[in-house]
C-alpha cells in the first residue's frame, strides 16, 4: 500500500500483522422506555500501521465502539484484542491506563489547568518516583520538545490551552496522545469543530504525521469525505454493526447496499430489470437511461427480474441526445456542478443527478438530454439491487 521504509526504525513489530481486532462485541445501555442496543455484534480488524476510519451516521454506535476500544466502557460480550493481548473479554477488562492506546478527542479536550508542555508530558509519568531523577526529567523534556516539534508548535510549550486556536489545540492533543508511544491512536472526530479550510489542511498534516510516526490510527467520523480521503481502510457502521469494511475505493465503487451507497456519495437510483444484451457483458440491466453493465449486490440476476440500478452523478452527462429530462435546480461548486433533473419531457419521471464540469450550467426548467457517459460496452460498474417488493 504505502511506502514502509520511513517507519522501519520506529516500528518494533517484525511482520505486518493485526494491530487490533474486535470480535462479536455487543453493548446495551439501560434506557427508558427500552434498553438501547448500541453495538450488536461488531467485528473489526485493524492492520498494523494502517489508518482505519470508522464511518457512520450519528447514533450508529461508532463512539461506543471507540470507548470500548479505549477501555472507558466494558462490552457486554465479545472480545477486543491488541495484537496478541486480550483487552476485553467476558470477565476480563484491562483498565484504560494499561492498554497503551492513545486518544485524540473531539475539540482536543486539553487539560485547561495545564500548559501545553504539561499537557503533552501528562502521560510521561511525571508523578512517579523514578521520574524524579534529573535524567528522567531531561528525557521527559526532550520528548515533549520532540513532539511539539513534530506537530509544528515548538514555541508553544508555555502557552495555556485557552490561548491556542482550534487547530493548534488539536495538534497539541495529538502530540499528547502520541507522547507515551501508544500502539494505537484513536481519533474521535478530531476535525469536526474546525472550519473547512483549516480542516482540510490539518487532515493532510495529521495523515502525514501518523505515517511518519507509523502508529496505527483509528478515526471515528461521520464525514464520508474525511473518511475516504484520509483512511486506507474504511469500516461503515450502521445500527450497531459494521456493515461493510473495505478500501475507500472499494466502498465507493462497490457499496454493499443502497444505503451505504447513498451515505458515502450522491447517487442516482433508477428502477430497471435484468436483460441479455449481446453488446454488454452480463449481468446487464436496462433502465430509463438504457442498458448498463452492473455488479450484483443481492438478487439472482435472472433475466427480466426487476432491480434497482445505482449510478453516480459523475457517470452521467448532459449530451446532444439521450433521455429527455427537465432541469429542476442546479448547484455550482466551482470545480464542478450538480444538475438536478427529472426524467421525461414534462419532468414527471424519476429524479436524476448529473455532475458536470466547467461553468456552463443549464437553467431551471430547461429541457435537456441525459445519457450514461463513456462506452457502455466497456462495462460501467454499477451495482444493481433486486427489488424486494
Amino acid at each position: 500500500m504505502q511506502e514502509l521504509d520511513v517507519r522501519e526504525h520506529l516500528i518494533t513489530q517484525a511482520q505486518p500483522s493485526i494491530a487490533l481486532s474486535v470480535r462479536g462485541v455487543t453493548k446495551t445501555f439501560p434506557a427508558r422506555p427500552a434498553p438501547v442496543a448500541a453495538l450488536r455484534g461488531v467485528d473489526l480488524t485493524v492492520v498494523s500501521g494502517s489508518f482505519t476510519a470508522i464511518l457512520g451516521a450519528s447514533g450508529c454506535g461508532k463512539t461506543t465502539l471507540l470507548r470500548l476500544i479505549a477501555g472507558f466502557d466494558r462490552p457486554d460480550s465479545g472480545e477486543i484484542r491488541l495484537s496478541d493481548r486480550v483487552l476485553a473479554a467476558p470477565g476480563l477488562h484491562v483498565s484504560p491506563e494499561r492498554r497503551n492506546i492513545g486518544i485524540v478527542p473531539q475539540e482536543g479536550a486539553l487539560f485547561p489547568h495545564l500548559s501545553v508542555a504539561q499537557n503533552v508530558g501528562f502521560g510521561l509519568g511525571s508523578w512517579q518516583l523514578r521520574s524524579l531523577s534529573r535524567r528522567a526529567r531531561r528525557a521527559r523534556a526532550e520528548r515533549i520538545a520532540e513532539l511539539l516539534e513534530l506537530v509544528g508548535l515548538p514555541e508553544y510549550g508555555e502557552r495555556r490551552p485557552g490561548e491556542l486556536s482550534g487547530g493548534q489545540q488539536q495538534r497539541v492533543a495529538l502530540a499528547r496522545a502520541l507522547a507515551p508511544n501508544p500502539r494505537v491512536v484513536l481519533l474521535d472526530e478530531p476535525f469536526s469543530a474546525l472550519d473547512a479550510g483549516l480542516r482540510a489542511e490539518l487532515r493532510e498534516e495529521v495523515r502525514e504525521l501518523l505515517q511518519r510516526v507509523g502508529t496505527t490510527a483509528i478515526l471515528v467520523t461521520h464525514d464520508q469525505e474525511e473518511a475516504l480521503s484520509l483512511a486506507d481502510h474504511v469500516a461503515i457502521m450502521r445500527d450497531g454493526l459494521v456493515v461493510q469494511a473495505d478500501s475507500p475505493q472499494g466502498i465507493y465503487i462497490a457499496p454493499g447496499d443502497p444505503h451505504i451507497a447513498a451515505f458515502i456519495g450522491e447517487v442516482v437510483l433508477l428502477p430497471g430489470r435484468f436483460v441479455d444484451n449481446p453488446d454488454i457483458p452480463a449481468p446487464c440491466a436496462e433502465c430509463a437511461l438504457g442498458c448498463v453493465a452492473v455488479r450484483m449486490a443481492g438478487g439472482s440476476g435472472t433475466t427480466s427480474e426487476q432491480c434497482m440500478v445505482l449510478l453516480r452523478p459523475e457517470q452521467l452527462e448532459i449530451a446532444d441526445h439521450g433521455a429527455a429530462a427537465r432541469v429542476v435546480s442546479t448547484s455550482f461548486f466551482g470545480h464542478d456542478g450538480i444538475v438536478r433533473l427529472r426524467l421525461g419531457e414534462d419532468g414527471s419521471g424519476p429524479p436524476v443527478l448529473v455532475r458536470i464540469q466547467g461553468n456552463r450550467l443549464p437553467s431551471s426548467g430547461d429541457l435537456v438530454a441525459v445519457r450514461i457517459a463513456g462506452n457502455r460496452s466497456a462495462g460501467v460498474a454499477a451495482p444493481a439491487f433486486s427489488v424486494t417488493r
Binding site: 483498565s95 491506563e97 494499561r98 497503551n100 502521560g123 510521561l124 509519568g125 508523578w127 512517579q128 521520574s131 528522567a136 528525557a139 521527559r140 520528548r143 507515551p180 508511544n181
Partner: protein, 395 residues
C-alpha cells in the same frame, strides 16, 4: 518508553488517603488544644501539673498565656497558706451571667489559690449537659441562675449535701429544704411599668387578675425560667386546672416577647404599658443608662403574690466531682459576707443571699420585700408546669 504501566491504583486507595487527611486535620485540631495546655503549664512555671487531674482538654484557658500567667503569679504574691489547693482546678458549669461567674471565680482564686474554669451557658443547657454526661461529668460545681434547674438536678440525686455551716450563712427563706444546694443570690418577680402609659395605682393587684379581658394588649411577658417557676408555684397553690386557665388568659391577653430583656425594653420604650419580669433586668439597664433616674419606666413590687415570688440562684457540688473538699470550700466562700456575697453585691443588681450584705446597686432592701412563702426545692419538678405551658401554647 517512559510509560507508567505500574499505576495500577484503584479508587480504593482514595479511602485510606482521605482517612489520613482527616486524621491529620483532627490531630492538628487536637494538638492546637494540647499545645495551648502545654504553654499554659510552662507559662505557669511552678504550677507544675495543672492539667493532669482534669485531663488536658478541660484545662486550657481561652487566652493562652497572658491570662493564666498573671493570675498564677497573684496567687503566689498573696502567699496563700493553702498547700495542695493550688494543684486543683475546679470546673464550674454556670448558668449565671458570665461576668458575675467570672468575677466570682477570680475572687475565689485570689482568696484561696484554687483555680476555677467557668463553662458558661444557660441553666437548662448546662443541666441537660450534666444529665447527658451522667457520672462522667466534667463539672465539679453547678451554679444556676434560677432555682428550677438546681432543684431538678437535686431531685435526680446528683448533688452532694452542702455543709450546714455554709447554709446557715444565707437567708433561710431561700435555701431548699433538702439542704443539697446553696442559695447564694436571689431575684424578685416584679412588674415593670411605663408611667406615661399607666399609673402605678392602676396596675393590677395580683397577676391573677391579668386574665381579665380589660388587660388585653396591655402587658408583656417572657417564657423564662422564672416564668416556669411562677407556674410551678401556682400549680402547687391553686391547682392545675386554675393554673391552666390562667396561662390561657395570659396567652390571650399578653404579648409574648420571648426574653425578659425584651419585656423591659418594650416597656421602657413605651411599646406596651407594663410587663412581668425579674427585678434586676431593670437595674442592669439603669446602670448602663447612668442611674435609675435616667429610666422612664419604673419597678413595681407586688405583695404576697405569685407576681412577687423571690427566686433563689443555687450553687451545688456534683456528687461525681473528685474534688469534694475544694468544691465545698467554694460554696463556703460563696456564702461568706466578705467572700462571694460581697462580689455579688458589687457586680450585679441581684440580691446577695446573705442577710448581712446590702447590694450597692440601689435595690429595694431584701427585708422589705413581701414574697409568698415557698420552699425553693419545689421549683425542681417542672413536669406539670411544662405540660400546662405547652398546652396553653406559650412555648
Amino acid at each position: 518508553m517512559i510509560r507508567s504501566d505500574r499505576s495500577s491504583h484503584r479508587y480504593s486507595l482514595l479511602l485510606p488517603v482521605l482517612a489520613c487527611l482527616l486524621l491529620l486535620v483532627a490531630t492538628a485540631c487536637g494538638s492546637s488544644t494540647s499545645s495551648t495546655a502545654t504553654s499554659d503549664a510552662s507559662g505557669a512555671g511552678t504550677a507544675d501539673t495543672t492539667s493532669s487531674a482534669t485531663g488536658s482538654e478541660g484545662t486550657p484557658a481561652a487566652s493562652p498565656s497572658s491570662d493564666a500567667t498573671p493570675s498564677v503569679l497573684t496567687s503566689g504574691d498573696t502567699a496563700t497558706p493553702s498547700t495542695a489547693a493550688s494543684d486543683v482546678t475546679l470546673t464550674l458549669y454556670s448558668g449565671q451571667h458570665e461576668d458575675l461567674a467570672k468575677a466570682l471565680a477570680e475572687a475565689f482564686e485570689k482568696a484561696t489559690g484554687i483555680k476555677i474554669e467557668v463553662r458558661a451557658g444557660s441553666d437548662a443547657d448546662l443541666a441537660n449537659q450534666i444529665i447527658e454526661e451522667g457520672d462522667r461529668s466534667k463539672a465539679d460545681l453547678f451554679m444556676s441562675e434560677e432555682p428550677g434547674q438546681a432543684a431538678a438536678l437535686d431531685a435526680k440525686g446528683l448533688f452532694s449535701p452542702v455543709d450546714p455551716s455554709t447554709l446557715a450563712l444565707t437567708d433561710s427563706r431561700l435555701n431548699p429544704k433538702s439542704g443539697n444546694w446553696l442559695a447564694y443570690a436571689a431575684r424578685s418577680r416584679v412588674i415593670f411599668y411605663n408611667p406615661n402609659l399607666i399609673a402605678e395605682g392602676d396596675l393590677p393587684q395580683s397577676i391573677m387578675d391579668l386574665t381579665d379581658p380589660k388587660w388585653k394588649g396591655k402587658f408583656a411577658y417572657a417564657p423564662s425560667g422564672a416564668f416556669v417557676s411562677t407556674v410551678t408555684y401556682l400549680i402547687n397553690t391553686i391547682g392545675e386546672e386554675k393554673t391552666l386557665d390562667w396561662l390561657k388568659g395570659i396567652k390571650a391577653n399578653g404579648e409574648n416577647l420571648q426574653k425578659n430583656g425584651a419585656v423591659r425594653d418594650a416597656v421602657e420604650a413605651g411599646q406596651i404599658p407594663f410587663g412581668l419580669s425579674n427585678h434586676y433586668y431593670w437595674y442592669i439597664l439603669a446602670e448602663s443608662k447612668g442611674g435609675p433616674d435616667k429610666m422612664t419606666s419604673k419597678v413595681h413590687f407586688m405583695s404576697n403574690d405569685a407576681g412577687s415570688l423571690l427566686l433563689a440562684s443555687g450553687a451545688a457540688v456534683l456528687k461525681s466531682s473528685k474534688h469534694q473538699a475544694e468544691a465545698q470550700q467554694f460554696l463556703a466562700w460563696l456564702a461568706q459576707p466578705d467572700g462571694g456575697q460581697k462580689v455579688i453585691a458589687t457586680t450585679t443588681p441581684q440580691y446577695p443571699a446573705s442577710p448581712d450584705v446590702k447590694s450597692t446597686m440601689g435595690l429595694k432592701p431584701l427585708s422589705d420585700l413581701q414574697p409568698p412563702d415557698v420552699d425553693q426545692g419545689t421549683f425542681g419538678d417542672v413536669s406539670k408546669a411544662k405540660e400546662l405551658i405547652t398546652e396553653a401554647g406559650i412555648i
